[in-house]
């Protein structure tokens, strides 16, 4: 008893007036944190900061503002930076620099985004694990790996688990490769938003609300186009949507495989996509998110998906239990109680001012091959006249060129 009282008093003295939320940081962790902060402050172009094997508890978000720095751990399960007791955030690590490489370590339980890279060129993220260890929760940080306003970006061999928005999220960036990663238990597994020239391939996205998303939001610095999604394994993304309302991904129905929203020139091919309870592929406009209003959205924003090309995917199952009352009613109305949505659902919004002879210009069409069917949900008329006619999608589009990273990222050190 006496020991307990003493320990409690000591704890209070250390943590200050009995604050209890944050687990106390031991002396070794505190000195590690100060040293790492100093290494980040003192880093020069060319510096390599090695973080040894260990599980370290940090209280404060880290930041780096020097170009040309490499941050390395001993492995994504061996070097773990835990932010469970974080009192200042919001990120785990915030980078405002170019020529940045981070590899072989883990960032756990950050209050906000785990790794945010805001403005920079030549970014390499490799073998990084981001995880919210308490499972999917609305209070988890929004993004796991989050380069924004970056150019020439590689994210590979990484793992993100539990983000309350997108696990891997590349925003307002250009020339991007996201490959061979794994995203689980996030709202969105992988999301490319308002970005140009992105190749997303070889990834596994499973048990998220939505697997792989290609979105365009209004009011941002650039509109996205030219994303290729190929050779990914996207299956069983049926997790209930746990994003806070108002977030863009809060509009994603649980059970979505690959989702295109308001983005242009998106090519989806050679993927294995299976068992999504809403449907394997959704093509939609910003109108379906419920956020479109004339005061709050820039007049020059294009809310329509244009130039979408789906072909050569291996699709299986799904469509049997769509998320939301509207979709459930729609499914029953068109396919009956025991029926299911086909592989592709299009919300049916199109840019009326572009239409000539009943069709959009060739480059702006939605072309779909090799699927079990397409449902035009007739969103513009409250799902009143859905159509299962697949003729409108019988077209082809020019294939997008592969993304070439320039300069090539350095090989793993």
């Amino acid at each position: 008893m006496r020991k307990l009282v003493l320990a409690a008093a000591l704890g209070a003295a250390l943590a200050g007036c009995g604050k209890s939320e944050a687990p106390p940081q031991n002396a070794a962790d505190a000195s590690f944190e100060a040293k790492l902060q100093e290494q980040l402050l003192d880093a020069k172009p060319g510096s390599v900061i090695d973080i040894p094997v260990g599980h370290y508890t940090l209280k404060r978000g880290l930041s780096l503002r020097t170009d040309g720095v490499t941050l390395k751990g001993a492995g994504m399960d061996k070097t773990v930076l835990s932010f469970k007791g974080q009192v200042v955030g919001p990120e785990g690590l915030l980078v405002n620099a170019s020529d940045f490489t981070i590899e072989n370590l883990a960032l756990e339980d950050t209050k906000g985004d785990a790794l945010k890279i805001n403005q920079g060129r030549n970014i390499t993220i490799r073998g990084v694990r981001v995880e919210w260890t308490g499972g999917p929760k609305t209070t988890n940080g929004a993004y796991g790996l989050y380069p924004v306003k970056t150019q020439n970006v590689l994210i590979e061999n990484s793992v993100v688990i539990g983000a309350s928005d997108a696990g891997i999220y590349v925003g307002q960036s250009d020339n991007i490769v996201v490959r061979n990663n794994r995203a689980e238990h996030n709202v969105a597994g992988i999301e490319i938003e308002n970005s140009t020239r992105a190749d997303v391939y070889g990834n596994t996205a499973t048990q998220n609300t939505g697997g792989i998303l290609v979105f365009n939001m209004p009011n941002l610095s650039k509109a996205g186009h030219s994303t290729r999604v190929f050779k990914n394994k996207v299956f069983d993304n049926n997790l209930g949507n746990f994003a806070a309302k108002g977030a863009a991904v809060a509009s994603v129905p649980a059970g979505s495989g690959v989702v295109v929203n308001s983005n242009d020139k998106v090519e989806i091919f050679d993927n294995d996509i299976a068992d999504h309870k809403t449907t394997n592929i959704i093509i939609s406009s910003y109108f379906s998110t419920n956020y479109y209003n004339t005061r709050g959205v820039a007049a020059d924003y294009n809310p329509y998906p244009k130039g979408i090309f789906v072909y050569g995917n291996r699709l299986k199952g799904g469509g049997d239990s769509p998320d939301g009352v509207d979709f459930k009613m729609l499914k029953t109305a068109v396919y009956g109680l025991t029926g299911h949505f086909p592989d592709v659902l299009w919300d049916g919004y199109f840019d009326a001012k572009d239409i000539v002879g009943g069709l959009p210009p060739p480059a702006d069409r939605i072309c779909i091959h090799d699927v079990s069917g397409v449902l035009n949900a007739d969103g513009p008329h409250g799902y009143k006249n859905p159509s299962t006619d697949t003729k409108p999608y019988d077209c082809t589009l020019p294939k997008l060129p592969p993304v070439v990273l320039d300069p090539e990222p350095k090989a793993q050190g």
Binding site: A15, G16, C17, K19, E33, A34, Q37, L40, L41, K59, R60, G61, S63, R65, Q86, V87, V88, G89, P90, L94, N96, T110, K111, G112, D113, N118, Q119, T139, G141, A142, Y143, Y146, V148, K149, S164, D165, Y169, G171, Q172, M217, N219, L220, S221, A244, K245, G246, A247, A248, F287, T289, N290, Y291, Y292, N293, R295, G296, V297, A298, G379, G382
Partner: protein, 383 residues
Amino acid sequence: MTFAKHAWPALALLLLAGCHRGMEPVAFHAEGRPTTLAEWHVVEARGGKLELNDGVVPYDLNTPLFTDYAHKLRTIWMPKGTTAKYHPTDTFDFPVGTVISKTFYYPRASGGQPGDVMRTGDYSHDFAGEGLDLSKVHLVETRILVHRQDGWAAIPYVWNEAQTEATLARTGAVLPLTLVDDASGQPAREDFNYVVPDESQCQSCHAQDWIDRRVHPIGPKARHLNKDYHYAGGDENQLAHLAKLGYLGGLPAPAEIPRDANWEDPHAPLDARARAYLDINCGHCHNANGAANTTGLTLDYGTPEDRHLGICKPPTAAGQGTGDHFFDIVPGQPDESILPYRLASKEPGVMMPEIGRSTVHREGVALIKAWIAAQSGSCTTIH
């Protein structure tokens, strides 16, 4: 000897403020980071006072940044014979050698425990002419901004318990404090972590352009400084005072100088108060080139009152920071708006600003809510 060099002005100031007994001249360190604040000779704790050196001029702002109810003593010093150039909107163009200091402190809570500080907006007991009475206030940290050949550098110092010395804290600090309300009646206490930013975090606010990443002072702009200050020698407009001392050149006629509202001034228009508050608390990131230009939300002084300011604007990357709300500002409906929700939070990952506070600025939140409540229109969505 200082006395010989500055005999008459020193004597005059000695009579007015009772300070400068043997303080060495202000030192401009052209490089490096002195390990103690004292090595700058800008402000020094001596004889129960925090004293300002010769040529070190205090100033404050019409509407300041909120920092956990801390009070702030800001000072500026420039090398002899140098002058800053006036600018109508940006930070004044200061000469190399300029040293700005900002000391964060709290009025002491009477009879309290160590770490108890007052939550009060009353500054009237803080000042002893120019400087601070250490029997009345508790010093927390002093930040130096120094203009060197290669640009501004930000250097944080933390005061010791004995309040005799502030030492370099490059990696910042987390200091447990307790705010004690000064309102009569039941004493209310709030524990919080006062966070001293690390050097890199200084740039989070002071690098207002995230492409050039250059550090600048935020406060010394015309609209913030255009107000009277209670100098030891009497009240005077701060800009006029700086011009008179030779610290500021190119000052236009008073009518041409912009002036921010005082966010607390009940006689100022609500809109002007709210915009001044958002400008100083949010505009360093939420501007066209700032860290938050990824969001499409701009909150600095020049932002038009439309979606750029958040009106009916869907959030971009707010995550749980939406608080389940759909738009940054819903006119007339502060409780449906994201902006006050994030200002009223102290959860990292939800709260705005992201750094620089651990407590909620109740009065600031009330102001922004009142401002939104007074707006008209709606955010009707289109399908």
